[in-house]
């Protein structure tokens, strides 16, 4: 036991002290926050656009209101000459709306110094469309207020189970999808890490030195547990960093911009504010402690299930790393199949495929995580969860036992390509 601990410590420390660990660990939350930050900054960059509008038919005259940092100014000028001088007159862009029939609008052209940004383009298009639609309604004799009153907005509220908990299929879908995908990535990334560790030991010929001090099983388990520790550490740091960075976010962007961005978002759609409050309500309705507990269990269980198999494969590889490719295929295949079952499961969490996929340990870590956000015991009955948990625990004990047998012989075997038949023989050997 003590020896396993020494091995775990080495496997853990050598990886955590690596520069690449530090870089990945710091970079991922930064990217994550950047994904939130960039759209906000993009809105910000719309600041101080001064756009001259040359409207030949005067259809839009006075109907384009200033919007955030974008200012429209209608200019009575000839486009042919004006387009050469608008920059000198302090405009950042020039919008030319040629004379048109409102039923068949021609091509509207925007002149600018550099490329037009996407936000601005869609923003302007939306505004022009709005004006044009109003005009057409007027021509057709349709009362705009009446149209607004006719527009329907239906929202089905789902009350699940006896206690009529409010749920949201959309949110469950998103959470399930995200969690399952995360488990999938963890299985492959950390499984491969284990495999590479074993390959390194075998190719450096450290393996034989090691097994004269410790049992192969201790060596294998030490590595698997040590790397699991690395994974958990990384997640912990990520969660702390992401939460921390999000709290610091206003400092980077400035609280005004954040509020402005939020106000702008809400302003665009009156229903938005209401929708936001709805989401908050639903987020509270999700059983977060259960999801996080299950996530940790399926992350660890799935990892242990596959890591042992990856270790066994690593022990079979000889000098040629390409060999690893073909040998890992039988292991990555069920992982990839489970991601496809997962795609089906998030859409229909009670389908046959989803239910069985979440019980069989080959795919349960990924598929069950897709189903759980839909509710326990509403969508996933307790018996299914229990069966899945029991099978996964039994499953990783089984794969570990199996892998240990392959690993023990594999790491000491040099210069020989191993056939599946031989591996089969190792499995049936007693000691």
């Amino acid at each position: 036991m003590n020896k396993i601990w020494i091995i775990i410590k080495r496997e853990y420390l050598t990886r955590v002290r690596k520069k690449s660990f530090l870089i990945v660990t710091l970079l991922v939350p930064v990217l994550f926050v950047a994904m939130i930050l960039i759209p906000i900054l993009m809105m910000q960059s719309g600041d101080n656009e001064k756009i001259a509008v040359v409207d030949d038919s005067k259809v839009f005259q006075g109907k384009l209101a200033d919007d955030g940092g974008v200012h429209y100014k209608f200019v009575d000028a000839k486009i042919d000459t004006f387009k050469n001088t608008y920059l000198e007159q302090g405009y950042t862009g020039l919008l030319h709306i040629p004379a048109m029939d409102i039923d068949r609008p021609g091509t509207i052209v925007y002149y600018s110094k550099g490329q037009m940004n996407v936000m601005l383009k869609s923003n302007m298009e939306r505004r022009l469309e709005g004006v044009l639609e109003d005009k057409r309604m007027e021509v057709a004799g349709i009362d705009k207020a009446k149209v607004e009153s006719i527009r329907a907005d239906i929202d089905i509220v789902n009350l699940a189970g006896k206690d009529e908990k409010k749920g949201s299929a959309g949110l469950a879908y998103a959470v399930g999808y995200g969690a399952a995908f995360l488990v999938y990535i963890i299985l492959l990334v950390f499984g491969t890490t284990v495999m590479r560790g074993v390959m390194e030991e075998k190719m450096n010929r450290v393996a034989e030195v090691m097994v004269s001090s410790v049992k192969p099983f201790q060596l294998m388990m030490g590595k698997i547990v040590g790397i699991a520790g690395v994974g958990l550490t990384q997640f912990l740091i990520w969660i702390v960093l992401i939460v921390g960075l999000q709290m610091l976010l206003p400092l980077f962007v400035g609280a005004d911009t954040m509020n402005a961005a939020a106000a702008q978002g809400a302003g665009n759609n009156a229903a938005m504010a209401e929708a936001m409050s709805k989401i908050n309500f639903v987020v509270e309705g999700v059983n977060w402690p259960l999801i996080i507990t299950c996530f940790l269990f399926y992350f660890l269980g799935g990892y242990l299930f596959y890591a042992a198999l990856f270790a066994a494969v690593g022990s079979l590889v000889n000098e040629d790393p390409n060999e690893a490719q073909s040998l890992t295929f039988p292991i990555t295949l069920p992982v990839i199949i489970s991601i496809f079952i997962m795609f089906a499961a998030v859409r229909n969490p009670n389908g046959q495929l989803a239910v069985w996929g979440s019980i069989i340990p080959f795919s349960s870590p990924v598929v069950m995580m897709a189903r759980i956000p839909y509710g326990v015991p509403g969508t996933v009955p307790y018996w299914q969860l229990a069966l899945s948990v029991i099978f996964l625990v039994a499953g990783f004990m089984g794969t570990t036992w199996l892998a240990a047998k392959i690993y023990r012989t594999g790491i000491l075997l040099y210069g020989k390509k191993v056939t599946l038949k031989e591996v089969g023989k190792w499995l049936s050997r007693k000691n």
């Binding site: 050598t14 390194e200 030991e201 450096n204 034989e208 030195v209 410790v214």
Partner: protein, 303 residues
């Protein structure tokens, strides 16, 4: 007292018998040579002695008791032929790690690391990564990590491969000193001149079976061909050569290699030349080298 006794050890693989009924004993403090051609079963034998493999049949007695891999592994140091270190690890940490896995406490291990690194004049490498060292330097580190825990039984498989003569000598001296202090050493190699230089006893295995077992002196005596080397002052005429006592195998001017006839004694030859007033510059028996014994035995087995 014997440190190690192997009794009818067997290990069979699916296709062949790697070790087929091998028995021998190794007395305490001896340097014991385990010889054999490639694929003779040496590595399998050593893996059983180090507890990596279980024998299919037979018994290993270690230090007077039945071998218990769990406990006894702490008293064995094994430097396998296929050996290596973690390339990205610092030398000091690496040796510390291996020492701890042999059951040494941290303090104890640190004292020993300081001692050995000073003795081998490599104290300045402690913080270098293994990959920065030359192959010979890595070998030295490997050797230190094998003997750190003061094993009762030290097993060295081709310990000198990759070492320059100076470092070879350093390690050879260390092996002798350890043997004097009571460590038993099993030395496995193909390099026969080293066997003669270092080993007291040897066992020769071939195709999973024991072919020879005995002290180096005994074996040389047992396999001698009754060959002698004689150098004379002058070249005698053929009539004066006492060819009834011997046959000339080889002649190089006034030096002869002769094979003694069965009925004759060495003194017969000497007294013959003395009687004829022919000056004998030297006269010595040619004993077979272990290399010759090895080759003849292995070839015999093939024939």
């Amino acid at each position: 007292m014997n440190v190690l006794e192997l009794q009818h050890l067997k290990k069979h693989y699916a296709t062949h018998k790697a070790v087929d009924d091998i028995s021998f004993t190794i007395p305490k403090g001896s340097i014991f040579g385990l010889l054999g051609p490639n694929g003779a079963g040496k590595t399998t034998l050593l893996r059983m002695i180090t507890g990596i493999f279980y024998p299919d049949d037979g018994e290993i007695i270690f230090d007077g008791k039945k071998f218990d891999p769990h406990k006894d592994i702490h008293h064995i140091g094994y430097m396998p032929e296929e050996r290596g270190l973690y390339k990205k690890m610092k030398v000091g940490e690496q040796v510390m790690y291996l020492a701890q896995l042999k059951g040494l406490g941290k303090q104890d291990a640190q004292t020993k690391i300081d001692h050995w690194f000073a003795k081998f004049e490599i104290a300045s490498w402690v913080n270098k990564k293994v990959e920065e060292l030359s192959k010979g330097m890595q070998q030295k580190v490997q050797f230190i990590s094998t003997i750190m825990h003061q094993p009762k039984l030290l097993i060295l498989d081709e310990p000198f491969s990759g070492l320059d003569p100076i470092n070879s000598q350093l390690i050879q001296d260390e092996i002798f000193e350890m043997a004097r202090n009571g460590t038993t050493i099993i030395f496995s190699t193909h390099r026969m001149e080293q066997v003669e230089e270092i080993c007291d006893h040897i066992v020769l295995v071939n195709k999973g079976r024991k072919v020879l077992d005995g002290s180096v002196k005994e074996i040389k005596q047992n396999f001698k061909q009754h060959l002698f080397r004689i150098a004379l002052d002058e070249q005698p005429n053929p009539a004066q050569m006492a060819t009834w006592h011997f046959t000339i195998v080889q002649q190089h001017e006034k030096a002869y290699t002769v094979k003694l006839n069965e009925a004759s004694k060495t003194n017969d030859i000497l007294s013959h030349f003395i009687h004829h007033g022919i000056q004998v510059n030297y006269f010595e028996e040619i004993l077979p080298t272990i290399n010759e014994v090895f080759i003849s035995q292995v070839k015999n087995a093939e024939a």
